[in-house]
Amino acid sequence: MSEVDMSLARPLLEGVSDTGAGGLKLSVQPLRGMVTLRADLSEASVAAAVKAAVGSDMPGVRKATDTALWMSPDELMLLMPYGEAADAVAVLTEKLSGVHHLAVDVSDARTLFRLEGSAAREVLAKGAPVDLARDKFAVGDLRRTRISHVAAAFWQSGDGPDVFEILCFRSYAKYLWEWLEESSREGSMPGVL
């Protein structure tokens, strides 16, 4: 019997939108490998397994590193190049044998956007009930919340000033893309953040 290929292996959307206010640029990121890990995050063995799998220290509460996102008190989202998720799961499973945990490859479940530009936090603030003032939300800060009506997580990346990575379920990606585009329109910024 032939293998069923469950990998979608292509972004749902492609493109870059840079028609927004203040040099805003919205882009769909290339596919990333994603592994969801549920475990007691305070255990040293879990931190060691995360380090071994994706090379990241354990992120603090509501924090993101380059490859590990804090999603809830017992849940991390680990990022790696697309196609390496199975290897990461294998590393986690080996390092955490005997430790109560769950590690699953969810690479195809979500779409990653990047919104950059000085008005990026104003755009996000239109849809998310989060304090995005510069002194309240900085590089490495992450919130799992909603944007408009859909569940999403976003964090401020260290790749440059005002770069935000936005993660949402693939099935909502088109909606969120259109919402972000609409909310980025020239002349629509309150100009308070």
Partner: protein, 106 residues
């Protein structure tokens, strides 16, 4: 608009990030109970004008369930506490009593 502090992840969020889960601390009547008890367990809910103990879930955030005591009259939140208890903690009951004594809630 309710402002809610999630006791599980510490986020101070607003109501739309959370989902209400109805009245808290309902005692289950299962096999062997009378029809009246079982019916009451299934259907009878308080609908107070004043202090209400409720279950909530941080639906768009960490996803955890927790308990909250609030006033349905003024939307004052007296406190949040963990999901795995059958009665509210004493400090929240004290705050409710203080609010009653000051006449803020019935």
């Amino acid at each position: 608009m309710l402002l809610i502090d999630c006791p599980c992840c510490g986020v101070s969020g607003e109501e739309t990030e959370f989902a209400p889960g109805g009245e808290a601390h309902i005692v289950r009547f299962g096999p062997g109970s009378s029809d009246a008890e079982f019916s009451s367990y299934l259907f009878d809910r308080k609908n107070p004008r004043g202090v209400h103990f409720e279950r909530w879930r941080h639906a768009f955030g960490c996803g955890k369930w927790f308990h909250m005591a609030r006033s349905t009259q003024t939307l004052e939140v007296f406190g949040v506490y963990k999901a795995d208890v059958t009665t509210p903690p004493q400090d929240i009951l004290d705050r409710v009593e203080a609010a009653k004594a000051e006449g803020r809630v019935k």
